[in-house]
């Protein structure tokens, strides 16, 4: 099963590489997405862990991330067709190949239960997505790609060192060194503490770079703002979460080793710090795609905070993984439409989106209301339960700061969003030729995503909540 899920997109990538027609090739993406989504549902339907080999196991955590990845890719692939239609200036071969390969390697991340494999897969995501960032071929996009490549590679290299430390911790404990997750989990209590802690820090910093925790986030705004809308959506909703999954692994080990007291302060600090940095850069942000990127940093911070608080907050955190992914997809896709219609990302040149693009503008606004965590949308439920957990576990200061930062971020984000959607259209017709029209392909995905966000806020489907509960139990399992 794993191999099907992983190699299907890679195979499709190969097919895309040979398909000659620029007009037909994009349609391979939705096909891939649909098949992959279907298979994903089949896998998720299976109870408990789905083990293919000792290295490729889909545990409940992986299931959640896989769901997000596959779901988001499905919508982004549809949107991508419309997107490529609108920008038929250059060949989209590289785009299609890398985009579906991207899906393949991310699927690998979700399955991998061997930290080495996981490292390889995450490094691979960087490499295959670099050309996607570079799609526009503008100097800015080159720069973004360069920073993305170098910073992430360096960070992930550190994560490799961290993985080695883990293996060494097991070796030091007198077991023969291993990177297989199950074995580490069983041995967790015996692992040598110093090496385990060092490994945790290294992997937090390393994968945290990829996940976009401040201050290692520096590549993120650039990449998100320069990449095409569907790619940004995948980055923010799926890629970052894959890195988060890697961090969850080592977090899980620390929990199993009974080191919660060690990881908690670090994670809470990193989470709040990321939120604070995001807030600082969101206030007065003129580039609305950068603004969304910083909001991703903020939400990664919330995830870190959530697992830092731990315990009852885990459910909310995992729910937030899903809610944030869906909402951010909605936001990036609608923002992409707005960007296309105005040919600018700067709020000085973009206004009156509600008038020029009634649907996309509304979707963008709704997505904003959802992402700031106001009811009745999904993120509200997750953030509120994290908050409750924070109070329940006595992290009063952290919870207070959490709320304060939420307010700051709301102010920063709201100013930008309202500038975009409200007011009349700019007098100087900055509209690029040909004039962008909202097509079914570009508007339907965000609409459905909005429906999902609302659903998450009003009524979490039973299967999903079971999935989340299993994941929480899985995280809290003590060998």
């Amino acid at each position: 099963m794993a191999f099907v899920l992983i190699f299907l997109p890679l195979f499709m990538a190969a097919v895309a590489a040979v398909v000659p027609s620029d007009r037909l090739r994009p349609w391979l993406l939705p096909v891939t997405g649909t098949l992959h989504l279907g298979l994903t549902f089949l896998v998720l339907a299976r109870p408990g862990q789905v083990a293919t080999t000792t290295w490729l196991v889909l545990d409940p955590l992986g299931k959640i991330v896989l769901l997000v990845v596959s779901l988001l890719f499905f919508f982004c692939s549809i949107h991508a067709v419309g997107y490529l239609k609108n920008s038929h200036t250059r060949s989209n071969r590289v785009f299609c190949v890398c985009f579906s390969a991207f899906l393949g390697v991310m699927t690998l991340v979700t399955w991998s239960h061997h930290l080495g494999i996981m490292w390889v897969a995450i490094e691979a995501t960087t490499l295959v997505s670099a050309p996607l960032v570079y799609f526009e071929h503008t100097p800015r996009s080159i720069e973004a790609t360069w920073k993305y490549l170098v910073i992430c590679s360096v960070g992930i290299a550190l994560a490799l060192l961290g993985s080695f430390f883990l293996a060494y911790a097991s070796l030091h404990a007198g077991i023969n060194p291993t990177l297989v997750f199950e074995e580490l989990l069983q041995q967790a209590p015996h692992l040598s503490k110093p090496w385990l802690h060092a490994a945790f820090v290294l992997m937090l910093v390393g994968y945290g770079t990829k996940m976009g925790l401040a201050p290692m986030h520096t590549w993120l705004p650039e990449a998100h703002s320069e990449a095409p809308a569907p790619v940004s959506a995948m980055f923010s909703g799926a890629l970052l979460v894959c890195a988060f999954l890697a961090i969850l692994r080592v977090y899980h080990l620390c929990l199993a080793a009974g080191d919660a007291a060690f990881v908690t302060p670090i994670l809470i600090f990193m989470g709040l710090f990321s939120m604070a940095v995001a807030g600082v850069f969101m206030v007065g942000q003129k580039d609305f795609k950068r603004m969304l990127a910083y909001s991703s940093i903020e939400h990664m911070g919330i995830l870190a905070l959530g697992i830092g608080i731990g315990g009852v907050a885990l459910f909310g955190t995992l729910l937030h993984v899903v809610a944030h992914g869906v909402t951010k997809g909605l936001l990036f896709l609608s923002a992409g439409n707005i960007y296309h219609a105005y040919g600018s990302k700067n709020t000085d040149e973009v206004s009156g989106a509600l008038r020029r693009l009634p649907l996309s503008g509304t979707l963008f606004l709704a997505g904003f209301i959802a992402i700031i965590g106001s009811p009745p949308f999904g993120p509200f439920i997750s953030e509120f339960s994290i908050l409750n957990a924070g109070f329940a576990t006595g992290h009063y200061v952290a919870s207070g700061l959490f709320l304060l930062l939420l307010l700051v971020i709301f102010i920063g984000m709201g100013a930008t969003v309202l500038k975009v959607v409200q007011n009349r259209e700019p007098a100087s017709g900055a509209a690029p030729q040909p004039v962008f029209r909202e097509g079914l392909l570009t508007v339907a995905p965000p609409i459905v995503l909005l429906g999902l966000v609302l659903l998450l806020g009003l009524h979490i489907p039973a299967p999903l909540s079971n999935l989340l509960h299993n994941a929480v139990d899985f995280l809290e399992v003590q060998p």
């Binding site: 170098v150 060092a198 910093v205 201050p215 060690f262 007065g284 509200f380 329940a392 979490i460 489907p461």
Partner: protein, 668 residues
């Protein structure tokens, strides 16, 4: 699954749903179909009628009727309930919005506002239904959902004309304020859940929590809901939003939505063991400050709708004073204080929703006639639009709390409570006494304020040529106002009508350990007020008729106003809104910070020039905005973190690594 359905609750819930959905059908039709607006209004009407029906058949015995459904949220339950306290607040919800929506049929025609007409209808329904849901919900999460539904709908309503910069600014201020409030509420409910062990808004927290937690809960309640209610330092959003919203929306916002903040405070206070004296004194003082400053700011305004908005703040202050007195009563276990204070507050909730909506609708009619909100350009409208002028007079007299209209009834109750607690020699005599005097000052200032607005707008002669002949509005706009004015009269002469419900609500609010509560009717001999009011009306009408007949019989000589010998009196020399308020403004200069624009007299024969004053909101303009700008500037300095050098970025990674390794104290 627990079912204790009383038909009343079911009807009201249905009404809520219908209201929420009332604007929806129109959205499926083209903006050219003007009849969709009538459809929306019809749905609002159906909803309100159902709601009233439900209120009539509902019984407020114990256990209070409630519906609980399981709900797939970590929060758990979809639980709604109805009790006397809720019913008190549901009455305005089912009254004002429907009137406003009829008014809107003529005031905000779909045909004249094609691009935002349907949206306005949609959010109008959401606002009304959301408010009803706020009152009904018995679960924190559901409450928050309803709360945010209401707040967001109000934002989109206030920002209906978002092509105007002023409107955008006002809307943004509102959005930030309401979100800040919501943040406090999140903290409040999270903390509440921790001490009460659940999200249910019906489990009373036992008194066994530390004073620190109790104080935190209390403060969070006051701040969180105070933002919505418009308590004084938190009122900053209110004037702008009310002034820039369409008039029937302002009517609903000011007449009903502000009360939701009051409702929230009262509802949460039923759950909290707030039994300390300082709580009550703080609320009382807050109310007094809100009342006085609110009305002082109102006097200083020249924009008719801003003035009304500030006067809403004043009335919220009066209501808050009542609540403060009730809290003091709770702390001292004096049932009569609670009865009079809370009874007066709740009665004032009704009264304010009546007369404030009346005058806001009225302001809409005025603006239709003269196309401006600046009172200095109005005048003499009583001749061209007599009905509007007459209706406004009802609102003005009522809002000053003058007998025989309803404003007096509620203020009288609060006065009674305050004087009682002074006479009874309770341990908080002097704050309460000062509060009583503050209420008196509020009354006097309110009188000055509404003499100003009524006379400057309707009496005298037009200060400025208006293009087109101003005239009374259409029936659709007149009838709702008439109904509201009628309400003012009825509640003014026969407030007893509401007593059973109020009594019920007060008894429910009072904590069970308190002594038995006396009957409101016995504590406040309203039959006297009623009879006095009727005598007063009879005497006045009789005297007026006689005098009128005498004057008509002798055919009075109609001449111009005597200019004290000055022959060339022009309308320009009349007292304007600014000049009328000048003395009071200068009395309160130390808090108002008025801005004068004086013409500079340059030559011997100076050219024509204008003198004007304006009083922007001091809290907003002098405290909050500067603080925000400063914070923004500092954040810009921090932007240097992201200055583009990849080498620096890599250093960050290394630095964090070293920092965390050091912090972790890995025991190497």
């Amino acid at each position: 699954m627990q079912y204790e359905i009383h038909n009343g609750l079911v009807l009201i819930f249905a009404a809520t749903i219908i209201m929420i959905a009332s604007g929806l059908p129109a959205c499926f039709f083209d903006r050219r179909f003007v009849w969709t607006q009538r459809l929306t209004t019809a749905l609002m009407l159906i909803g309100s009628v159902l709601g009233w029906w439900g209120l009539v058949v509902a019984s407020f015995g114990t256990p209070a009727s409630s519906i609980v459904w399981d709900w797939h949220l970590p929060a758990g339950h979809f639980s709604i309930g109805l009790d006397a306290l809720g019913a008190v607040f549901l009455i305005p919800v089912f009254t004002i919005p429907v009137l406003g929506s009829f008014y809107g049929l003529s005031y905000w025609r779909q045909s004249e506002h094609p691009e935002n007409g349907r949206g306005l209808g949609l959010f109008y329904g959401l606002l009304a239904g959301g408010m009803a849901l706020v009152v009904l919900s018995r679960d924190s999460v559901l409450f928050l959902i309803a709360w945010e539904l209401m707040a967001m709908a109000a934002f989109f309503l206030a920002g209906a004309e978002d092509e105007k910069a002023e409107v955008r600014r006002a809307g943004w201020t509102y959005l930030v304020a309401t979100h800040a409030g919501t943040i406090c509420l999140l903290a409040l409910f999270a903390l509440l859940r921790q001490v009460s062990g659940g999200f249910a808004l019906s489990t009373v927290v036992d008194g066994s929590l530390t004073t620190g937690i109790a104080a935190t809960l209390f403060v969070l309640t006051i701040i969180g809901f105070g933002f919505k209610a418009g308590l004084m330092p938190l009122h900053v959003w209110l004037p702008g939003a009310h002034a820039n919203a369409p008039s029937h929306v302002s009517a609903v916002m000011s007449g009903v939505m502000l009360k939701m903040g009051i409702y929230g405070i009262l509802r949460v206070l039923t759950l909290l063991p707030v039994t300390e004296l300082w709580n009550g004194e703080v609320v009382l003082g807050l109310g007094a400050i809100t009342g006085i400053l609110g009305i002082v700011f109102a006097i200083a305004q020249n924009d008719i709708k801003r003035l009304m908005a500030y006067s809403s703040i004043e009335n919220i202050g009066i209501i808050t004073m009542g609540i403060g007195l009730a809290l003091i009563g709770r702390a001292l276990h004096r049932a009569d204080f609670v009865l009079l204070g809370l009874g007066g507050a709740l009665l004032h909730v009704w009264n304010h929703s009546l007369f404030k909506s009346l005058i806001f609708l009225n302001s809409g009619a005025i603006m239709h006639a003269v196309h401006t909100r600046d009172m200095n350009r109005m005048g003499g409208l009583a001749k061209s639009m007599p009905v509007t002028a007459g209706l406004f007079l009802f609102g003005a007299v009522a809002i000053c709390g003058l007998p025989p209209l309803n404003g007096f009834a509620s203020e009288w109750l609060i006065y009674l409570g305050l004087f009682h607690s002074v006479g009874a020699g309770s341990s908080t005599v002097w704050p309460v006494g000062v509060a009583a005097v503050a209420l008196a000052v509020i009354g006097a200032l309110a009188l000055a304020c509404f003499v100003k607005i009524y006379c400057v707008v309707f009496l005298g002669t037009p200060r400025h040529p208006v293009h087109g002949q101003p005239h009374d509005p259409s029936r659709l706009m007149r009838y709702p106002m008439m109904l509201l004015a009628g309400g003012c009269v009825v509640l003014g002469i026969l407030p007893q009508l509401g007593f059973p419900l109020l009594q019920n609500a007060v008894e429910q609010w009072m904590d069970p350990v308190a002594p038995a509560i006396p009957q409101l009717a016995s504590a406040a001999p309203f039959q006297w007020i009623s009879s006095m009011a009727m005598v007063f009306i009879v005497l006045v009408v009789g005297g007026f008729v006689l005098l009128r007949r005498k004057i008509v019989r002798q055919a009075p000589a109609l001449v111009g106003t005597w200019g004290c010998g000055y022959g060339l009196a022009t309308p320009r020399i009349q007292y304007t809104a600014t000049s009328f308020g000048e003395m009071l403004v200068s009395l309160f200069r130390w808090v108002l910070f008025p801005r004068f624009r004086r013409p500079a007299i340059s030559s011997v024969f100076p050219a024509k020039s204008e003198f004007s004053t304006e009083v922007p909101d001091p809290v907003l303009e002098r405290v909050i905005l500067p603080a925000f700008r400063q914070a923004g500037r500092n954040m810009m300095k921090l932007r240097l973190l992201q200055q583009g050098r990849i080498q620096i970025y890599l250093l960050y990674v290394l630095a964090v690594l070293v920092f965390l390794l050091g912090w972790g104290k890995l025991g190497f």
